[in-house]
């Protein structure tokens, strides 16, 4: 009340600086998790690094549009997925015909067919599927499916968070996830069994 204007200004500036530093520190603490999602959304490590740097550059500039207490990781990923689209990721021609999808149990059934029911034991699954085959299968998915699968399966986001990040309805997240995972399993079956 008795404060003079320069004092109020000074306090406001100090509060803002403190909030900004806290924001920057919280955002940086999530960098590893942001990177691991980025890495699976793009083809190379270099692209992922660039994308994460652009994301943090933008986040630091527009930190005031983040609402404290909300999901900061989702907020960062929203910037990242938008930048990824803006950067003109290779436009993928939508196939005239959607690939025929096999059911959810397709890979499991194929593995059983090839080597018997015991192949479904956890350790055997890992033996049969190489790390490369998983990474390749993920990168072969059409973008829309891959974005959703990566956010939910690698980023461990809920359907609701993924919907917000990609700006699509939850129902679309569910169907893209479902179809994306089926395609992933088909790809793995082809690579692994054949």
């Amino acid at each position: 009340m008795g404060d003079t204007e320069p004092e109020i200004d000074g306090r406001r500036i100090a509060t803002e600086a403190r909030d900004r530093v806290r924001f920057e520190e919280e955002a940086l603490a999530l960098a590893d998790q942001v990177y691991r999602v980025a890495r699976r959304l793009v083809g190379t490590r270099e692209e992922a690094e660039d994308l994460v740097q652009d994301t943090y550059g933008r986040a630091f500039r527009s930190w005031q549009s983040y609402t404290p207490g909300t999901n900061l990781r989702a907020w960062l990923l929203r910037i990242l997925t938008n930048l990824n689209v803006d950067r003109g990721r290779k436009v993928q021609r939508t196939p005239d015909m959607q690939p025929i999808e096999e059911g959810d149990y397709y890979l499991a059934n194929k593995m059983v067919e090839a080597s018997g029911e015991q192949v479904l034991d956890q350790d055997r699954v890992v033996e049969k599927l190489s790390q490369d085959s998983i990474v390749n299968a993920l990168s072969s998915l059409p973008h829309d499916f891959r974005d959703t699968v990566v956010l939910v399966d690698i980023g461990e986001f809920s359907y609701a968070d993924a919907a917000q990040i990609l700006d699509i309805p939850i129902g679309t997240v569910m169907s893209r996830l479902h179809r994306g995972r089926r395609l992933l399993k088909q790809e793995l079956a082809e690579e692994t069994i054949s």
Partner: protein
Amino acid sequence: MSHTPCDACEELLQGYLDRELTGSEVVQAESHLDGCDYCRRRYRFEESLRQYVQTTAVERMPVGLMEKLTQLRTEP
């Protein structure tokens, strides 16, 4: 092997593994799984596949990136 209940079980697979089913759907899935060895094995397979995808597809941040990000901070 009867297909109808197993098809219904397969339908619920995704939501079940993602823990996004409603209470009554969880009951439906679990009561089928309790009695069906075929689906139980496949659910377990899907669960380990999902964990495996998660662990194998994760790549740690390259050395040096954190420093580059820190330099982007706006503070003086």
